[in-house]
């Protein structure tokens, strides 16, 4: 008998009687989602800002200290200033000295400041989410939802194969529970809400 069959038959023989799947609770709405989202981004160590349109976004991003570093990727449609073209990079290891990446988010979550980003057109460069020293995430105001339950209503998987919620910069509290920003991934995370 293969391990697979042995495990499955042992599980089937366990005699657990059927339990119906529960309904999910309906979350209580707590105020304007965009306002809450901006607050949450601050609470998780990110730097939130709301801008009216793409032109204001470009101006604000250009003013970020992180954007003054030389190795920049912009994946946000209409956001200029990128200096590294991912399509021209063969191996993700070449991104090791990437300074900053601007990435479009598909969903923002008010309750926890998380932004859903996917690797739809990144090829082998999923590292772009975690390897740069700084991150710039951009979400449209209309894409901000109240909570994670609502967020999963907007997310499609298994395609594009890879996606993650990023909530603020990389952090750790493994040494005496002192919060330190910038463990392995981004040392700062600017989050823009457009509209």
């Amino acid at each position: 008998m293969t391990a697979r069959d042995a495990i499955l038959s042992a599980l089937r023989a366990s005699g657990a009687s059927p339990v119906p799947a529960p309904r999910h609770p309906v979350p209580v709405r707590q105020g304007d989602p965009v306002a809450r989202f901006l607050e949450s981004v601050t609470s998780v160590g990110g730097n939130p800002r709301r801008v009216p349109d793409a032109a204001a976004l470009a101006a604000e991003v250009a003013r970020l200290p992180a954007w003054s570093f030389p190795r920049r990727v912009s994946l946000v449609p209409g956001l200029p200033g990128g200096t590294v073209d991912l399509a021209a990079v063969a191996d993700p290891h070449e991104l090791a000295d990437l300074d900053v990446a601007a990435i479009p988010g598909e969903v923002g979550v008010a309750e926890n400041g998380a932004v859903w980003v996917t690797g739809a057109s990144l090829g082998p460069h999923r590292a772009v989410f975690v390897i740069p020293e700084h991150l710039v995430l951009v979400v449209r105001a209309g894409d901000v939802v109240n909570d994670m339950q609502e967020a999963y209503g907007r997310i499609t998987l298994p395609r594009p194969g890879y996606g993650l919620f990023i909530s603020g910069p990389s952090k750790t509290a493994d040494i005496e529970q002192s919060l330190v920003i910038g463990a392995h991934g981004a040392r700062s995370c600017a989050v823009f809400v457009v509209g």
């Binding site: 042992a10 599980l11 609770p25 979550v109 909570d147 998987l157 919620f165 952090k171 493994d174």
Partner: protein, 462 residues
């Protein structure tokens, strides 16, 4: 007895200052958890739903695993099955060998601790680097994690500075957490860039979509799976959940329960290999099917490893992770360890005050203190309890069944404690009075007081 929790805890509690420091550090997490839970009005119904989803899944676990496997394969993920830890290690080693891997990075996985994967691979010439900062600290120190979410919670920053000086060549005397973290970042960045494969655990596997989720705050799972082309994910059979939407429930509970954060920094959904790479999932039983077959143990399989029961447990906080004989300490470990091997972990069900706080904070409502009580009974039946305690319990049971004897014993004890309180500090009973001030015993017992009050009452009142 092979292992006795109080013996192991002794060294820890003798260092009074450190014991208090540890207690406070964990309580801080508990307070943060309470604050985070209070921000979600539907918290209690979320817990009930999470419990319900887990129990539903366990009741059809084989079906959901098959659905997961089918969908994962369609996504290009290679699925393997392992009956036990040894088979798991062999499968992982086989994959690494096929790719000629000699350097692997790993993000936190209690399952691989359970399987003793690191020594298995290291003895076969593969460098395994734990990349979670806390895990790396204990790995460099040659220790096991003392907490499932904060593996180095027992270590002071000065000790970590000394350790980094010795192992990583950092300057002597560093103790600032920011500087130490920065040193670890530089050291591990190099390991990530040189790794040929990355291994992660699995927080949730989704049957419906054939993918899985890994959460970290540091981004180490992401670094370890986006640079090397080979990713291996190890999961216990109980990690599968039916639908993508179920994640909305679990992720609202997990980080809030674990660290008081509204969500972890990185919640990564893997549904396909890195283009040009390989993605393997190893599904491990290792005793879980047998736990599933026993109804009163089944619920322990609902655990999502948040660590909230450790943080709240008055015994864990005051005795430290290393006083527990099972690799997972605290209430959940004191349930899981004895479920596997009651004889080897017979003292763990007693490492609890049965206060029930663990059950109250558990995001999936595992009935931890009830399970501990059942395990105590089993340990008693199998004579796995120390002789002194067995005789003592027999004597107490004998006296409590005889009211006159019980009252006489009480009078005697109150008399002795009044005239010679020092007697309580010698003999076998001293374990309860060590390090404690004894109260002055009252002159009469509650029963005496009650009888007197009743006797003095006028007729007709009650």
């Amino acid at each position: 007895m092979i292992h006795f929790h109080p013996e192991k805890a002794r060294a820890f509690v003798l260092d009074d200052e450190r014991a208090h420091w540890h207690d406070k550090a964990l309580w801080f997490m508990r307070v943060k958890r309470d604050r985070a839970a209070a921000t979600v009005p539907e918290w209690e119904s979320l817990r009930e739903t999470a419990e319900g989803i887990k129990l539903h899944t366990l009741s059809r676990l084989a079906d959901y695993l098959e659905e997961f496997e089918r969908n994962a394969r369609a996504n290009g993920i290679q699925v393997h099955w392992a009956r036990d830890g040894e088979e798991h290690n062999r499968i992982v080693h086989g994959i690494l060998e096929k790719h000629g891997v000699t350097r692997m990075v790993k993000s936190k996985s209690m399952l691989t601790e359970e399987c003793h994967l690191n020594p298995y691979l290291e003895s076969r010439g593969i460098e395994v680097v734990d990349t979670d900062l806390g895990e790396r600290i204990v790995q460099l120190a040659g220790e096991a994690p003392s907490h499932i979410v904060m593996p180095a919670i027992h270590r002071k920053k000065e000790e970590i500075g000394d350790l980094f000086h010795e192992k990583l060549g950092t300057p002597k005397g560093l103790s600032d957490p920011t500087i130490l973290t920065e040193k670890a970042r530089g050291h591990l960045r190099e390991k990530f860039l040189r790794a040929q494969a990355g291994l992660t655990g699995v927080n949730f596997a989704i049957a419906e979509t054939g993918g899985f989720v890994v959460v970290t705050n540091e981004g180490n799972a992401d670094m370890g799976t986006t640079l090397p082309p080979v990713h291996i994910a190890s999961m216990g059979v109980e990690k599968v959940i039916p639908r993508l939407a179920d994640l909305g429930v679990f992720l609202r509970l997990l980080a809030r329960s674990a660290t008081g954060q509204p969500v972890s920094s990185y919640t990564t959904h893997f549904h396909a290999p890195l283009p040009g790479g390989e993605l393997h999932v190893v599904i491990v039983d290792n005793g879980r099917s047998s736990m599933l077959s026993e109804e009163h143990r089944r619920k322990a399989l609902c655990c999502i490893r948040c660590g909230a029961c450790l943080n709240t447990c008055p015994v864990y906080r005051r005795s430290g992770g290393y006083s527990y004989s099972y690799l997972i300490p605290g209430p959940i470990g004191s349930v899981l360890g004895p479920h596997r091997d009651l004889k080897g972990h017979a003292s763990l069900p007693f490492a609890s005050s049965l206060c029930g706080s663990c059950t109250d904070v558990c995001p999936v409502k595992v009935d931890l203190h009830h399970q501990l009580l059942v395990l105590r009974q089993e340990a008693g039946e199998q004579k796995l309890v120390p002789l002194g305690k067995r005789v003592g319990m027999k004597a107490a049971s004998f006296a409590m069944a005889r009211p006159a004897l019980f009252r006489a014993a009480g009078r005697f004890a109150r008399f002795v404690l009044r005239v010679a309180p020092g007697l309580a500090r010698v003999g076998p009973g001293a374990i309860w009075s060590r390090g404690r001030e004894l109260p002055v015993p009252p002159r009469e017992s509650f029963a005496d007081l009650y009888d007197r009050e009743e006797a003095g009452k006028p007729e007709g009142r009650s």
